[in-house]
Amino acid sequence: MMADFKKTMLRGRNVIAWLLVIMMVVIYLRPVGLPLVVSPSVRCWYTAASAMSNQSKPVLMVVDYTVGTIPEAQPAITVVTKHLMERGVAMVFVGSGVADETSLMQTVFNSVGIQKTYKYGVNYVGIGYIPGGEVAIATLGLEFQHVAATDAYGNPTANLPLTKDIKSHSDFSAVFDFDTVGNYPLWIRNWAVPHKIPLYSFVDASDMPMITSYYSVGQVQGYMGGIPGAAQYEVLSGLPGDALKSTDVLSITHVTAMILVVAGNILYFTRRRDQKE
């Protein structure tokens, strides 16, 4: 009986892998179009962004994700950047997690085509990665010109029209953080709580349980969790993108995972019953 059980499990591994590949490919190519329910946390973010205009103070866009999480984080930053571009909101891009963030920032610029409608230095500025972790984040809010003396292209920020008057955190209307490196508590500690700067954060799906505890007490004003969060923002803003394409795949794979757990348990209990008999 034990040998049979092991055989079933091992055979199941190959079947599951193939089933998963086929399902993901088919559903990605032919999405089912399952309806999305927008969560209050995403709606808060969308409402705040929609209330901004070209008269608002610039938004600090924090590119805090890694190369490995591009598929999850890039749809979110893309849709928010596009939405802010529609509203004419000025943006300053920084990174505080890993050195790759300067290249990731440039990838975002290229993918949203910001150069076509926005003028560099006037409507948007890319500072890029700033080393120093929490100390750098804290100092950026107190002495912006000192920490971000030059942008990612070597231009002095004191000479750029958008950044020349930025002195501290109070010169930003909000912080939009796109984070998969776990840096959002640092922005909460150094910007949102002490200086009352509204913080909206994108986190990967595995960080959702953690950020909920900050959101429920108002330390984070809104958040998006993984691909479903970005897809909800795409629906709200009417700017469909990669996140919406992936939601159906995500739904079906999650359901498959649950079916597998149930199947595994049925096999387990069957084996136990047989052993008792």
């Binding site: 499990m9 199941g12 591994r13 599951i16 892998a17 998963l20 399952l34 309806p35 999305l36 329910v37 969560s39 890694t66 190369v67 490995g68 591009i70 598929p71 050195a99 790759d100 300067t102 290249s103 920032m105 440039q106 990838t107 890319g126 890029g128 080393p131 120093g132 972790g133 100390v135 750098a136 804290a138 100092t139 107190l142 002495e143 000192h146 920490v147 990612a152 292209y153 349980p209 953690m210 909920t212 505890s213 969790g225 993984g226 479903p228 939601t247 995500l250 739904s251 079906i252 794979t253 999650h254 359901v255 995972a257 649950m258 597998l260 757990v261 199947a263 595994g264 348990n265 387990y268």
Partner: protein, 223 residues
Amino acid sequence: MSAIVRQRLPLLIVLISGLIMIGEFFFNVSGVASVAAEVRFLAVTVAATAMIVAAVSVTMNNLRNILKRTKGQWPYHLWCVVLLWFWIIFGLYSGPTSENYLWFFNNILAALYASILGILVFSLFMGFYRSFRIRGIESGIMIASAFLVMLGSITIGDLIWPGFAPLSQWILAVPNAGAYRGLIIVMAIGLMAVAFKTIFGMDLSWMGILRSVTAGKKKEKRP
């Protein structure tokens, strides 16, 4: 190097820096703010320089194995050093925002990472299948709450039953947030104790020295 330079000087720097930052944050001592700002700028500069130290350290460690011709390993160490310096020189030459650098970045690095994470999905699924067993009440509760949160997070959950999303939100906002906040507070208190011990030289592990203070006797050893 004398003990004063090796031990006392770093301790003094840590003590002074720590007291300045505490003075600025908690007591608003006049004149301390500008000194604290300088300390922060210094920390940012040190962090930037640390990247050079890291590159040199990685090279030295790998070179040791290359020179020793460690069997079956040295070609990998050589490849690591070659790639490390290729990226450094290429990045310095063309800049991390240049078209050529981004081509390499998106077509090699991003593709590799995406592949690795893609393969991980299959391992996760096998993990679900083979190890998520209801062996008792605790594991049963864990699997049930995992199912509820998963169904509340995906689009199909709402089609099955509209109550999944609010239930999932409740699990995240009440039992989960309560436990997590407790954890954060405990961690913060622990960190305060560690910071206090470091600032006042009671813990020297950051200098690579293990020291225990027991019943007035100091025992010191280098690992």
